[in-house]
Amino acid sequence: MARIGVFICQCGKNIESTVDTKKVADEMAELPGVVYSCNYRFMCSAPGQEDVKKAIKKHKLDGVVVAACSPHMHEKTFRRACEAAGVNPYKCEMANIREQCSWVHHDTTKKAGTAKSIDITRMTIERLKKNKPLKKISIPVNKRALVIGGGIAGIQAALDIAEGGREVILVEREPSIGGNMARLSETFPTMDCSQCILTPKMVEAELHDNIKLYTWSEVEKVDGYIGNFTVQIRKKARYVDEELCTGCGDCLVKCPFKAPSEFEMGLATRKVIYTPFPQAVPNIPVIDAARCPKIQKGKCGICEKVCGPGAIDYEQTDQIVTEEVGAIVVATGYQVMPTARFGEYGAGKIKDVITGLHFERLASSAGPTGGEIRRPSDDKVPDSVVFIQCSGSRDEAKGVAYCSKICCMYTAKHTMLYKHKVPDGQAYVFYMDIRAGGKRYEEFTRRAIEKEGAMYLRGRVSRVYERDGKVIVQGADTLSGDQIEIEAEMVVLASAVVSRTGADQLAQKLGISYDRYKFFNEYHPKLKPVETVTGGIFLAGTCMGPMDIPDAVSMGSAVAGKVLGLFSAEEMAREPITASVNTMICNACWDCVVACPYTAIEKEEVRNKKGEIVRVNAKVNDGLCQGCGVCVAACRSKAIDLAGYTDEQVYAAISVF
C-alpha cells in the first residue's frame, strides 16, 4: 500500500476564500493509501517546504500530493523538496486548486470550490499511486560544434564559439567562405565597404586554432541527437592538394579556358581553375571539372606544368569525412529570385534588366567594371536607372507573399551609389511602401530622396520592354494616379530574397522543419528565435528568413551563446518524460515510426548468436524523444507507453472522476 502525504495550501486567502481547505484535507485523509493529510497557509514558503520534508521523514512517505497552485508555478519547488527528503521527485504531483479552481469560482460559500478541489486532489492522488520513480536522463555532451554555411552569420557563430574555447567545424559548399556579403559593395546604413569589414573576419576564421574549415564541402548525413551527432561531410574533389598549394595563383593566370563566374553572377568570366574572388578564404583554387579538358579528355594539363609545388592532382576524388559534434548551427543563407522569373520584366531576356545583387557587383570596386556603373549590354554608363522594389516579393499571385525586408534599404543605397558615380544620372525608384524600420534606417532612405535626388514613385511597374536601345518602363504613380512611362537605360530589380535551392533536402537530413517558402522554422518566433524544435540544432542568418547583416550577425552571436551554454556542463540532464516500447508486444507495424514528429523511433533488429534476425521491433531513441506521446496513441497494439503519462496513470485519474 502506498504511503502518500497530502498538503492542501491556502495561499493566504487566495485559495481559502472559496475553498474549505480543512475539509479537503480531512476528506483526503480518508482515502486508502493516504497516511498524512494537512492544510497550511503558504506551502511554497520555506517553513511550508520544511513541513513537507519533515512529514516525509516522520510518516515514511513514498509519495506527495500538493494541492495548491498550477504545476507550471511550483512543481519544480516541491519536487526539489521531495528529492531532498529522499522521495523520488516524480513521485510528487500537484493538484491545481488555485488557477483552475479557487480563482475561477468566486462562490464564497465555498461549496463549489471545495467540491471541485476534492475531485481534483483525489484524481491526483489516484494518478500518483501509479507513478513510477523516474530518473532524469543525463546525456554526455560532445563539446564540438558544426556550423553549416560560411556566410557572415556562420562565420560570426563559428568565431564566437571558437573564442568561447570550443572547437568548431565550419562547412561551406563553395570554394571560399564569405557568402553573399562578399558580393556587396558598400553596406547600409553606414556605407562601410563590405570587403573591408568581412575579409578580416574570414581570415580570422581561417587562422583560428579552434576552427576547422571544410570548403568545397557538403554535409552528407547527420545521425544522433543533441550532444551526440555524427556527421558525414563530403569533401568534393578540388583537384588541388590543399596541403601543397601555396596560393601563388600561377595556375589561374596560365589556364587557357574561361567560364562564366558564379561569384560575379555571370557579369564576368573566370578561368577553369579558379578561386571565386581574390580575397577567397582559403586561397586555394578549384578546378571546374566539367569544363576542364584535361579531366574530361586528357588534353591540356597546363596548370600541372606551371604549379611549382606540384599541387595539381587530376586524380583526386570526393572524400567522406566523419566528425562527431554536440551541436549544429545551420547558416546556409539565401539567394535572390532570378530575373528569368519575371515575365513582364523581360523574363531574363533583356540584358539591361538585372538584380540588385548584380548591381552590387557593378558598384564594387573589386567587381567586373572596377566600380563603374556600366550596363551589361554595351558597357554604356546609363544616364537613367529605374529601380523596381518588391520584385517578386509581396506578390502572392506570382511570387512570394512576404516582404523581403532588406530591399527597401539596399535600393536606397543603390540610388546613392549610382548618384555618386554618375552625378548627372537620374535614379527612379518604384516602391509600394518604404520599410526602413531600423536604427538610422529611415534617415538613410530620406537622405536618398531629399539629398541625393532619387525620384521615388509610389506604384508598381507593370511592364518592361526594349525599344531603340532603351529599356522602357511602364508603371503607375499612385500618388498622382497616373500611368507613367520612363525611357531608362538600365533596370534593377530588387529581387525577392528566397531560400537556397535544396534547403528542403538539407532540412530533411537534419530533421528540422521549414515553412512553405523553405525557410527553416525557429522554435518560437519571439522567445526561441535561434533554436529549432530539434534539440541541439540551431539557426542563424537568412536561412530562416530575410534579414540584413546586423540581424544575421546578432543571430550568429546569439546562437554561439546557446551553443556555449549547452557545452557548459559535462552532461545534460533532461526530463525523463520519454516513450518506451514493450518489444514483446510490438508487432512491427511501424505506425509509431511514421507518427513520431521527431523521427525518434527506429526499427530495431534483434539477432541471436548466429546473427540471424529473431525479431524486429520499434525502439525509441531517448536522446531524440521529446515526450509528446503521439506514438502511444498511434500504437494499436498498446506496445508503447510514455513515462510520466502512462495509460495506467490517466485511467487512474479518470476512474475517480
Binding site: 498550477s70 488555485r98 471541485k116 498511434a634
Partner: protein, 158 residues
C-alpha cells in the same frame, strides 16, 4: 477507496432520477500541457469566472490522447468530454495536434455512427493566451449539456 466508490454510487443514484436534486453535469477535459492548460491557468490568474463543472486531465499533447480515454470518461460518469490543445501550427511538438486531429476525425465519425449525441463531445483549440475562449467554451458546453441531461448510456459499462 470504499468511500470514494460509495460516494460515486450515491451520486449515480441521484442522477438516475433527474429533478430529484439540482443536477450538475460533469465534464472531463483532456488538454495539452502547453497551450490549453496554460490558457486555463491564465483564466485563473486573470480572476475570470466560469462554471465549476469541468475536471481537467493534463497530457503533454493532444496527440497523446487515446480515443479510449474518452470512452472511459463517459463510462466513469462524464456527461460531456472536451479535448483541447494548441492551434494548428502552434503545437509544441510540431505536429502532435495534427495527428490528434486526424485521429479525432475518424473517432468522431465512429461515435456518430454508434449514436453518440455529438453535443457531448467537443474538440477545440485554446492557446495559452486565450483565457476568454476557455471560459466561454466551458460555460457554453456546460449549459448545453445541462439541457441534454445526464448521460447514462455508457455508465457502468466497465
Amino acid at each position: 477507496m470504499e468511500k470514494a466508490v460509495k460516494e460515486t454510487d450515491e451520486k449515480l443514484a441521484e442522477e438516475k432520477q433527474p429533478g430529484a436534486a439540482a443536477w450538475e453535469p460533469k465534464i472531463m477535459a483532456f488538454v495539452c500541457n502547453w497551450c490549453t492548460y496554460a490558457g486555463a491557468d491564465l483564466a485563473g490568474t486573470s480572476r475570470m469566472e466560469y462554471r465549476p463543472n469541468v475536471r481537467i486531465v493534463k497530457l503533454p499533447c493532444t496527440g497523446r490522447i487515446d480515443p479510449l480515454f474518452i470512452i472511459k470518461a463517459f463510462e466513469n460518469g462524464a456527461d460531456g468530454v472536451l479535448v483541447s490543445g494548441c492551434h494548428p501550427g502552434d503545437c509544441h511538438y510540431t505536429a502532435g495536434n495534427y495527428h490528434a486531429r486526424r485521429r479525432w476525425i475518424g473517432f468522431k465519425s465512429l461515435m456518430e455512427f454508434v449514436g453518440l449525441d455529438m453535443r457531448r463531445l467537443h474538440f477545440s483549440w485554446v492557446s495559452a493566451s486565450e483565457a476568454i475562449k476557455w471560459v466561454d467554451l466551458i460555460n457554453s458546453i456546460t449549459d448545453d449539456i445541462k439541457k441534454l441531461g445526464p448521460f447514462m448510456e455508457y455508465r457502468g459499462l466497465k
